[in-house]
């Protein structure tokens, strides 16, 4: 009963929030979400642009990510280096990330810098400069990022190869950072057309959380962002990944101390009702040392150094990916076999109630921890708005999780975790 009670408490806390988020849509299509929080004198301002690697094509792969970098390299009012210089001088800092679906700009700053941030964001949203010299320099930076996160990272390179094999037709086939030849090859024209469609206000969700008032934010939004014209949205991604008809295998040979394994299954997009069931399955299998895969593979059998799973939010059908590092002297065939055995158990036997409740509690507590900071809340609000179609779904996510049954787990595991639907990628150490 204790376990069940703690679940209820989280539920209450999530429900306490909806009234505090204010939502507006400007005539030019810009969506604005605001949550006041005066706990610290700071603000998290996130801009989600609905353009990412899925909107690219062969020859320009990685251009969304490259653009994420270019947005810091000068516009009309604030020239090269000025965005960062002015922001840091005002006590703020920033970052940005690109995913297969989105390009997101994350600004953190004292509330005294609010107007400056609107001015600078508006400047780069409508008047970005395209200086050929800076483009060449930034190409080097992005290539360095690729070398670090992919070429010199065992799990990075294996992930890239696994996705490329799992997706044969859909743009999720290529890496967010781009293929090396495309990084070397983008043209000015590629960049301009990407900017025009991707960075229009109607393609953006602006989230402001922190030491602000709704009136303040809306006045600045109108002053700086209302006049930016809307644009035709990025073309619809027409290609659908055809059904996988048999297991695919990928081998990467590389100098390494230990092998790495990634096993991906095709799963539906984040708006599908099964997405929540898959999250619960992830928790059951890999969250905490009592989870099924950790306790069997890392602890009891001692065949893996670590085991994890990742079910990324995605606008189009994506992948549920298991990752494992077999211990030294352990044949990857053995870890793989054990993983498949555990998956088979999900398909054949109902999950006991207490275990299911534990997984649900973990998911809720995890979500709750993300609400501790203004940046965590800004990120969650934007993510729910885009991936679930409505930020309010954040406040009912507890009910979605609560509704998952043992029968759902069995049905979903049977539907997606089949031999035919998987791609198995293994990095095998090579001794030079």
């Amino acid at each position: 009963m204790r376990v069940f009670l703690s679940f209820l408490l989280v539920t209450c806390a999530l429900q306490a929030q909806p009234g505090t988020v204010k939502s507006h849509i400007l005539p030019n299509g810009l969506k604005v979400l605001i949550q006041e929080d005066h706990g610290i004198p700071n603000v998290a301002m996130y801009l989600f642009f609905k353009i990412g690697a899925r909107n690219e094509r062969p020859g320009t792969t990685g251009v969304s990510h490259f653009f994420e970098h270019m947005m810091f390299n000068g516009a009309k009012k604030y020239g090269p280096k000025q965005f960062d210089n002015e922001m840091e001088k005002a006590g703020g800092n920033n970052n940005a990330y690109t995913s297969p679906d989105l390009t997101v700009y994350t600004d953190w700053f004292p509330s005294t810098a609010l107007e400056l941030m609107f001015d600078m964001e508006a400047d780069r949203m409508q008047n970005l400069a395209f200086d050929p010299k800076i483009i060449e320099s930034e190409r080097g930076v992005v290539y360095s990022e690729r070398r670090t996160s992919v070429d010199n990272s065992n799990s990075g390179i294996l992930f890239e190869q696994m996705r490329a094999a799992a997706f044969t037709a859909h743009p999720y086939h290529w890496p967010v950072v781009g293929w090396p030849s495309d990084i070397e090859g983008w043209t000015m024209e590629d960049l301009r057309s990407h900017y025009k469609t991707g960075y229009a206000p109607n393609n953006c969700v602006l989230v402001v959380v922190g030491d602000v008032t709704e009136q303040q934010v809306m006045a600045l939004t109108k002053k700086y962002l209302e006049a930016i014209p809307q644009q035709p949205p990025p073309p619809v991604v027409r290609t659908k990944e055809p059904e996988q008809l048999g297991e695919r295998r990928v081998i990467v040979r590389k100098q390494a101390q230990l092998p790495v394994q990634l096993i991906g299954y095709h799963v539906p997009d984040s708006r599908d009702a099964d997405a929540t069931v898959l999250e619960v399955i992830d928790a059951l299998l890999t969250s905490g040392q009592s989870s099924r895969l950790y306790s069997r593979m890392v602890d009891k059998d001692q065949i893996a150094l670590n085991v994890g799973a990742q079910v990324s939010r995605s606008l189009d059908p994506g992948l549920f990916v298991f990752s494992m590092t077999p211990r030294s002297g352990i044949d990857p065939a053995r870890t793989e076999k054990v993983l498949f055995e555990e998956i088979e158990k999900l398909r054949t036997a109902p999950v006991p109630d207490a275990e299911l409740q534990k997984a649900k509690n973990q998911l809720l507590a995890r979500q709750y921890r993300q609400l501790k900071t203004i940046s965590g809340r800004a990120n969650l609000l934007g993510t729910y708005e885009i991936y679930r179609g409505d930020y309010n779904k954040l406040f009912t996510s507890d009910k979605d999780i609560e509704a998952v049954t043992a029968a759902d787990i069995r049905r979903v595991a049977t539907k997606y975790f089949s031999e035919k639907n998987r791609t198995v990628a293994t990095l095998i150490p090579e001794v030079k």
Binding site: L9, T20, N93, S144, Q257, G288
Partner: protein, 457 residues
């Protein structure tokens, strides 16, 4: 049910001109345990942070990893719970439990929902005070840690940090002993049990509770659990130690690397150095933010790397000030020259009034989200105050310390602490392609292969 506006209502009213640590109490239990309580109504979560003085510096020479492995084993079986039961109970509450060790202490950080305070405290105290270290669990954790040390070589950025330790500090220094296959191989259950028995005692422990909880019942719970621990004796800090450092270069050969990772270091300061705030501010300008001198030169202006920074260690003993970056194999010399040039120019020309003002605003503006926003951040600060013998002025007077730094003093500190000579280099990459390029940087060069066991120690 509280409204979120209430939940998040601040207990420390902040103005841009100052920051304040929220109210807390400190008391010492009869057995020596120091207890900090910081009840802070808000998100209904409560954090426990237990510090045991010692950490890496208490690892005997040749037995590095003892404090870390002991910490890791705390949850693997206690007088009342098997490892499995502990995990099931913790996960069932949606709680977290992390145990690790750093240069000066072992830290256990756990977090639970407000309503689970009593169970959370019971779990946390049970692990720390009644761990039974079953032989089978000890074997498992040791063997896994040995594989973990080996697997670290597959991550160049993590690996270079390990190679750096013995080369910069020397193995006689407590910070100069990396955890490797050999040192882990020397650890035994008897040694672990003895270490835990000696270290996890009243006079050596600080218990911090921060978050949304009621002080009175929490204190009563702490008295019954931690208050009942044997008093023991406080860990005697190690004698003062100095890094070997000096003008030398270590080259680690990783033939399949397509980029070179390098560090350039010199001796720095300790966590309690009177100049720490000023030097952190200077380091922010040098290599601690996106527009820093290093990142501007190596990334923004030249595209040689994805990122270049300078890290200033702040431990009990003086640490290192380290330039750290990477670049493609072909531009190794260019990037190293450029990093050195930035350092030389800073040392020679100093900074401007405008740069100093910008760094001051940056450090002040980012501080609340980095140190004061969540209960776990605040608990970390209270722990530092206790272990390093600081006081609440560490936070409350921060802005006035920042304001007090003059341009003249800043440039004096730069000349004193950021020197362009006598530097220690650690370089990891494809040696056949960079050996001749890097040898010019130091009078003595040592070369090791990444495939050899250990970290060049």
């Amino acid at each position: 049910m509280k409204k979120l506006t209430l939940i998040l209502c601040s207990v420390f009213a902040l103005h841009a001109a100052e920051v304040r640590l929220p109210k807390y109490t400190r008391e010492v239990l009869p057995n020596g345990v120091v207890v900090y309580l910081m009840p802070k109504p808000g998100v209904p979560l409560v954090n426990f942070r237990i510090l045991v003085k010692g950490g890496l510096e208490a690892d005997p020479n040749g037995m590095s990893g003892l404090s870390a492995v002991t910490a890791q084993l705390l949850r693997s079986g206690t007088a009342r719970r098997t490892a499995e039961q502990f995990s099931a109970e913790l996960d069932g509450l949606g709680g977290t439990f992390l145990a690790t060790s750093n240069e000066q202490y072992t830290v256990i950080a756990s977090e639970f929902l407000r309503k689970d305070l009593a169970t959370g405290l019971d779990l946390t105290a049970d692990a720390l005070l009644h761990a039974s270290f079953p032989e089978s669990e000890v074997k498992k954790v040791l063997s896994r840690s040995i594989d973990g040390a080996r697997a670290m070589k597959d991550n160049p950025q993590a690996a270079i940090g390990q190679y750096f330790k013995p080369f910069f500090y020397g193995v006689a220094h407590p910070y100069g002993r990396p955890v490797d296959e050999a040192s882990l191989g020397r650890l035994t259950r008897d040694g672990i049990v003895a270490f835990a028995g000696r270290m996890n005692v009243g006079r050596n422990m600080t218990v911090i509770v921060a978050g949304d909880f009621d002080a009175a019942p929490a204190l009563e719970g702490l008295r019954k659990t931690f208050g009942a621990a044997p008093a023991g004796t406080a860990y005697p800090w190690a004698a003062e130690a100095k890094p070997v450092a000096g003008a030398r270069l270590l080259l680690i050969d990783k033939p399949d690397a397509t980029q070179t990772y390098f560090r350039i270091a010199q001796p720095g300061i300790s966590r309690t150095d009177p100049d720490r705030t000023s030097l952190q501010l200077i380091n922010t300008l040098f290599g601690g933010r996106f527009t820093s001198l290093l990142n501007d030169a190596l990334r923004v202006s030249s595209g040689l790397t994805y990122g270049a920074n300078s890290i200033m260690d702040l431990h009990r003993e003086p640490g290192a000030i380290t330039i750290s970056t990477y670049t493609r194999t072909e531009t190794t010399g260019k990037a190293m020259d450029m990093a050195l040039d930035v350092l030389k120019r800073l040392n020679k020309d100093g900074i401007s009034a405008e740069q100093l003002a910008s760094a001051k605003a940056y450090v002040k503006g980012t501080y609340p989200t980095q140190a004061l926003e969540t209960s776990d951040q605040l608990a970390t600060m209270l722990g530092d105050i206790e272990v390093f013998g600081l006081n609440k002025g560490e936070v409350d007077d921060l802005f006035s310390r920042i304001d007090a730094l003059t341009l003249e003093r800043a440039n004096e500190l730069i000349r004193k602490h950021l020197k362009p000579e006598g530097l220690t280099f650690v370089v990891l990459g494809n040696a056949s392609k960079i050996r001749d390029v890097v040898k010019k940087y130091a009078p003595t060069v040592k070369e090791v292969k990444a495939t050899e066991p250990g970290f060049g120690n």
